[in-house]
Structure formats: structure tokens, C-alpha cells
Amino acid sequence: MTDVSTRIIAAIIRRFPSPFRERFGAEMLSAFLDQRDALVAGSTTSSLTLWRHTVRTVAGLLRALVAVRIDQRRRLESIDPDHLDHHERALMRHLASDARHGLRALRSNPAFTIVCITTLALGIGANTAVFNVLDRVILAPLPYHQPEQLVRLYTASRQAPTGRNVSRGPDLVEARDGINAFSSVGIVNLYRETGVDLLGRDGAPHRVRVLPVGADYFRTLRATPLLGRTFTRDEERPDARVVILSHELWTDFVGGDSSIVGRAIDMNGERYEVVGVMRPTFSDVVAGEVAAWTPQDLQAGGSNNASDHYLSAVARLRPGVSIARAQAELTAMSARMRERYPDGPRNDEYLRAVSLHDDVVGEARSPVYVLMGASGLVLLIACVNVGNLFLARSVSQTRDIIIRTALGARRSRLVGLRLTESLLVAAAGGVLGSIIAYWGVRLLLAVSPGSLARAEEVQFDWRLLVFALVVTTVTGLVFGAAPAIRATQSNPSDALREGSRGNTTGRGARHARRLLVASQVSLAVVLLVGTGILIRSFVARQHVSLGFDPANVLTFEVHTPIARYGTPEARVRFHELYQQRLRSIPGVRRVGLTSWLPTNGDYHQWGYEYVDDAGENRSLGPQVRVIDGDYFESLGIPLITGRRFAPTDRLETTDVALISRSLAKQAYGDRDPIGRRFETGGREFQVVGVVGDVANEPTGAITDMVYLSHAQFADDRNWALTYVVKTTGAPVEIENAARRELAQVDPGLVVYRPRPMEGVLARHLARERFTLVLMAVFAAIALSLAAVGVYGVLSYAVSQRTHEIGVRLALGALPAQVRRIILREGVAIGAIGTATGVAGALALSGVLQALVFGTSTRDPLVFVAVTLVLGGVVLAASYVPARRATRADPLDALRNGNSQ
């Protein structure tokens, strides 16, 4: 080992310019040896330490070498421009001549060059674009100070340890003051209804999001206000009328007037004093776009009782404290809370801390990683392809190399020549690839509307170019080095002898090329299988039964501010009036309302307390929806038995409810549920009807459902309702009419978030479509590159075997026989590639698990289809050269075979 590292060091020292080398060369080597001897003498030194020492010394010497050369050049230029170090001049001359030679070689074969550059550009571009998204969406830290200290708090239970439920007020207040692991806890109320309709400067009302937060919220995120102050704990009361404005609201609605602090603004008909304005750089990643913040009521009692779950929190860990330690404290706290509130409803629950970064990035992680892997495969295929082309060319250049070797060219110079060429190609591919990446990032964002968390933060930046540069260089070295080394390794005399016979040139290289193409085919199989499985999953998801008809349905929210709609009667009257007006719009068929749209996940999960036939008290936990008007008719949800709500079901009449089929079955089995009584939300209801099940999740998963009538249940709270309007034509066409009619009823209200129901569903599918489109693009690139590879190898084989083929034809072989020889080679490559590819895809099938729905990641149909597709492509790619082989004129072939 002495000698390898000493030789490396000595070799580098020799590269120093002569005055420096003569002065210090021997000393430097001595110092290195002294240092190493000292290391060897140390008892605990391993050979790894010695190598590390060598590597560190090499790095230092190389840095110094560059610096010394620069120093020297500066000094020489100031004294005598012609006085360049001899070695340096030789090196510069070599580099320049290599580059010139490389350019000339590439220009002389433009088809080769264009194919190489395009192939690499696709690979590099795809990787750089996907990496950029990955970097911004997943790897980048949250836009807060020391984001790794931030955690999100959820309520979980022993039955559901990965639960992400909202939490009770007392738990979070206790966590804020009683958990040592947290330096602060920002409590936040993410409930959807917290918005206001503000009169904009355009004179029309706009609905904006208002987020009620605890006093420590901003401190936890380490955000300071631009103007004024944040909230105090005294302000965590229900009657506090203070507000902090976002920078955007401040500029858009207040006109950026700094004297606003201390003055009052009108929100929902009440006066709120502005106490602060946040900075433009503050973005609320927990809640999304927030226009203003108000204090959250955290007084004990009221909604902050032991059973009301409605709050959420972000906490900051003390420096150096792990999430695990915080979790241990939180778990211990839950025992304390059980003692304090012995009759809380779910006694096995506790607060759960999750890294905020993981929480925000969440599900976007898996598709981006899969895409990163897929684009990596594409790049690998591109490298293999280009390496293959270079290898093919290096065979035809063998004689050129042999002659140069014979004339005394050094091996290092010859390898350098090849590497310069491949780096030139890689550089061109890198430049083109960066352009593709630039547009690719925009394309990625265009096809992924809102489906990736934090996608709005993605933009093209310089680090991306650095990434492209690294990928380019590595690529160039990978595909360039192998052929270059191979080309110079052969014994000149063997190579000359082999080269003299046209039909056997470079047998080793031919095997290598077949192997490369087979590996290309197998990589393509992996990508195709992945794409095929995603397509199956996508199709399965689109054909999932939702239990309702989303076609021609417009949805939008209308919020009734409590200041003007303080009584249940007023709210019922408003919604009835507005429904009537909507029904009068031409093109409107049905109008209904609901507190939460289907497929949007859980919303209100309440208890369903009933007595079973044996007289036992039972409890279920269905989802509860408050509806009004023709909700079931608008969405085509069938009535199975009993009746729907009727205009006679009023605030003052018996409370009635409809239940879903699955709930009826769960609670009453096959017996008639009509007329049964149950309790929910502290009131007793009578079942008057059963309706069909609807999907609660976009995957089609259904949940037990209870429907209450808004006309009867409006006194429970100021419900935020979503209108569901069935139309005869395109739903967007009635949007403006709906706005006009609302202005007639109450000009201060807003048609908020109008979306067709199909759009609501499409949003859920957007991420899948996004992943699928990209995978399909990658698979298509892979497949065409594999086809090009097979075609290239076989064409080359045919041209190399012209002589042999001529002999065969002359001896009476039939064209079909000759064709079969070539086809057999193609089929062999295809079969080996497909077999290894299928094995690889099976091995990797687990990777896709998180992205797949309703289909197996080892779906045999996909594997068979991919094998057939590839078989067809390989056959097609082999057929062309095979046919060309039989077209050869035996005489020509015999005459010219030798000169190939």
C-alpha cells in the first residue's frame, strides 16, 4: 500500500511548476511520509485512516497545484507573456488539440452526434426537471426559522395510533404550558367556516379566510409582524374583537395604509380593531391562504370542554429535544388528562406529534420519488444507448487507434481523446437538457394543478443548473470511459490481426453491445410495467362507483354572517328564498344544499346512540351531514325506503333523519329502520327514510351517514352550506346567474368557490394523472431508445457480417434462412432483456404500492401486455436490418466485405 499512495502523491507533486517543485517537492513528499509514519505508529490506526489521510493530502495538493499555477501565471504575465512553463504549455496544447479533434470527429458524423445529443438531452432534461420539483416540494425546508423544530399536534387513540384527528381545547392548553419539550405551542382553529365577506375596493364583497389562532401561534413559527403586534393571552376570549391582517389583505383591501393599526375595520357586521399587519414573506403553510388572523377562544368551558374536538396546533421543540421525547411527555400527559376529565368520551386518546415538514409534504412524497426513480432509469437508458453508439464507433476506429499507438501515442492521451469527445457530447446534451428542464418544470406545474403540496414554491433556479452539470459530467464519463479504455486495452498486434478480417471485428465489443442493449430492454420493461400498473390503477379509480352522479352539477358555498343572520329562522328563510330564486334560472333542474360534499373525506363524525332489539344501548360513529332542498335528487342519490325530508319538517316539528343503507344494515340488520329513534348531537331523531350509500373518499370508500334537515337543525349552529345545483347544460353557465340572484337576496354575500362537481372529483385524480402522464412519457422514451438500441446493434451486425452473408447466399442459403439468423439474434437480446426486466419489475413492485388503487402491483395482465409490446417492438426493430441482409447482392458482398 506504501507504494500506491506514495506514487500518487509523487505524481501530483511532479505536476507542480518547476521552480516550486524544485524548491519544495522533496520536502513535501517527506512531510507526507512523516505524517503517515506518525499515523502508522498510532495503535488504533486502520488502513482506512491511512487512505483517508492520502485522500486528504491529494485534495490539498490539487488545490495548491491550481493555486500555485494561477499565482505563477499572474506573475509571469506581468513580467513576460511568452514565458510559459513548458509542461503547462504542453498540457494546454493537448487540451486544445483534443477538443479540436473531438469536434472534428463529431462534425464528421452528424447523424451519430445528433442522436447522441438528443438522447442525452432527454435524459438529462427529464432528470433535472423532476429533481427540481423534488427539491422544492420535498427536500426544501419550510419557510420558517429552524423548521426542523416544528411539529404538528394531532389526536390519536390506541385503536388508531396513526390518527390525525382534531384535538380538544383543554389538551392543547395543557400541552402549551405543561410539556417541557416544547418551547411554545401555537393553537389554531382550522375549521372551514372561519371566513368573512369583506367589501373589496372594487365595491363587491369577497370572501376571505380568517384563521383563529392562539396567542403563541406567530411566536411558534418565529414570525414577527411588519406593523403593530401579535395577540396576547388575555385576548384568547370569545368577545375579543381584534385582528391581524395579512400583507396581501392590507394592500388589497386597506390600500397599504400604515395608520390602520389601532383603527377598526368591519368584519361580518362587527367592528374589529387592527392590532398588527404581517410581513409579505410570512406564508401560512398549515392553513394555506389566510387573509387575517383573530384570537381563538381558549377559555375553559363552552366549546373548550372535555369532549369537543375542533382545534389543531403547531409546536416548537426546544433545541436538541427529539420528537420521541416530546411524544413520551404527551403520552404521559394523556393519563393526567384522563384523571382530570374522567367522563371524556374517548378515554384512550392522546396527542400525537408529527414532524411538520413530513405533515405538509405528506402524500406528495411517494409519486415524486417514483418519478425520480423513473427519470433516473431514463437517464441510465440514455447513457447505455450513447455508450453503445460510442462502443460501435470505437470498433470502427480501432485501426486509427492502433496506428496512433504504433506511432508512439501514449495510452493516457488516447483515453483522454475519447473522454474529451464524450464530454463534448455530454456538454451539448447538458445544454439542450437544461432547456428541456426549464420548460419541463413549467410543464410539470401546468399538469399538476394543486396536486402537489407547496407546488407554488417551485421555480427554476441556479442549483438546478449545477445539478444538470453534475449529471452531465457523470453521464459523459460513464458512457465515454468504458469504450475508451476498451479501445486502448487491446494488444495492438492482436487488434491489427483481428481488424484485418472484416467479418470478425471486435467480437468482445459485439458481446458488450448485445449486453448493453439487453439491459436497455430490461430497463424499458421496468418502466413499462410501472406505467401499465399506474394506468390500470387510474382506470380502476375512474370506474369506481361513487353512489351519485357528478355530471352537470355546480357546487358553491354561501356563508351567512352571524351578525345579520343571528336566528335560525333568518338562516332558514334566507336559504329557502335563495333556493327559489336559483330554481327560476333557466337551465337549473334541481337545487340542494349540504354541509359537506361527498368524496371530500370526514367532516362531522358524531355518535349514533340507539337501543337494539335486545334492549341494549349501542353506539356507532357515522358521519353527519346537514342538507336542505333537493340534495338527493341533485346528485341522483336513490331513496331506498321511507321518505325524504318534506316542507313540513320544520324547526318546531319532530326531529327526523335519513340514514344511509350501510348504517341501516349496521344498526338494524334486515329489520325495518323506519320509525326507529336514535340520539346524535344531543338530540333525539326519528328515522324516516333510507338512502343509497355515497363515497366519502375519492377512492369510493363509503362511510355510514346520517342526514339531518337544515330547516330543522338550523338552531344547532350557523351552518356553512354548499349549494349543489343540477343543471341541464354545462354547470359553469349558470354561475353568473347564481351571483346575480344572490345579489338580489343579499348583496353582501358571496358565491364562494364555485366548482363543477366533476372538477371536485378531478382534483382528487389530478395527482394520479400527473404521475401517470410523466411515467407514460418516460416509458415511451425508454421504449423508443430500446428499439433504437436493438436496431442499431443488428444493423451494425449485418454490416459487419456482409461478407459472411454473401458467402452463405452464394452457397445457396435461402433469404428466409439468412433473415432468421439476424432475427434470432434480435429475439435473443429481447428475450434476455425482457426476462431480466420482468424479474426487476417484480422485485420493485413494492415501490408503487403507495400509488396504486384497486389493482395489484404484480398484475399479470400488465406483465403479459408489456412482454407482448416489447416483443413486437424488438421484432420490428430486428426485421428491418434482417431484410436488408437478404437484399445484399452476393457478389458485391463478397467483393466489399473485406473493406468494411
Binding site: 520536502e27 517527506s30 490539498g60
Partner: protein, 120 residues
């Protein structure tokens, strides 16, 4: 050309280390590396490449000079030249140390440090 020591200020950290060590002792190349590791453990490692670049520059600038090998120098075939700081070199390193001390003692630095301390 004036021989004013302040002309060389501020010193790069590695230069400061080398010159400080050679100000009190005569050392050869590896001796400097060893002494630097012992005297400035928290500082970036001094590697041989950087060391000889610094030595070359300081010899040219007459901050250090070559001295005769001491009696106890190991007697093998390896080349070891010994260096020591010149009068000018010692003046320069003293000036740099004074400058650094003044910098650290300034009220602005102290208040920043106490803020950082409090944060911890």
C-alpha cells in the same frame, strides 16, 4: 518599499497559524502540521499542499527564513528544511493578534456574543 507590518494585514487564518508557530520555534514541514494540530485544535486542518504554498509565499515576502537543522533532527534520507519567523514576520503576527483582540473586545462584538449566549 516600506517594511511596514500592517501592509500584510489581515492575515488569512492558516497564515496566522503558521506564522504564530514559527514565531516561537524552528520547525520543519511536518513539525508545523503537528504543532498546528496541537495548538489550534478547533481550526481547519492544515494540509501539506496549503502549507508549502504558504511557506513559499512567506519566504518570498521575507516573513520567514530557512534555518539550519537542529542537532536532534532525525538523520534519514528524507529532506527536512527548518523555518523560523523573521523580525518582520514576528512584527506582522503581533500586529495581527493585536488587531484581532481589538476586534473581539469591541462593544458591538461583545453584545452580539452575549445575545447568542442568551439564545442558547
Amino acid at each position: 518599499m516600506g517594511r511596514n507590518p500592517t501592509r500584510f494585514l489581515p492575515l488569512a487564518p492558516l497564515d496566522f497559524q503558521v506564522l504564530t508557530l514559527l514565531g516561537t520555534r524552528e520547525l520543519h514541514g511536518y513539525g508545523i502540521v503537528q504543532a498546528a494540530q496541537a495548538a489550534f485544535p478547533a481550526q481547519p486542518l492544515l494540509d501539506i499542499g496549503s502549507l508549502y504554498r504558504i511557506i513559499s509565499r512567506m519566504l518570498d515576502d521575507r516573513l520567514i527564513r530557512e534555518v539550519a537543522a537542529p542537532q536532534d533532527s532525525p538523520n534519514d534520507r528524507r529532506t527536512r528544511r527548518y523555518y523560523a519567523a523573521t523580525e518582520l514576520g514576528r512584527a506582522v503576527v503581533r500586529a495581527e493578534a493585536t488587531r484581532l483582540r481589538a476586534l473581539l473586545a469591541s462593544p458591538a462584538t461583545l453584545s452580539l456574543l452575549s445575545l447568542l449566549e442568551a439564545d442558547r
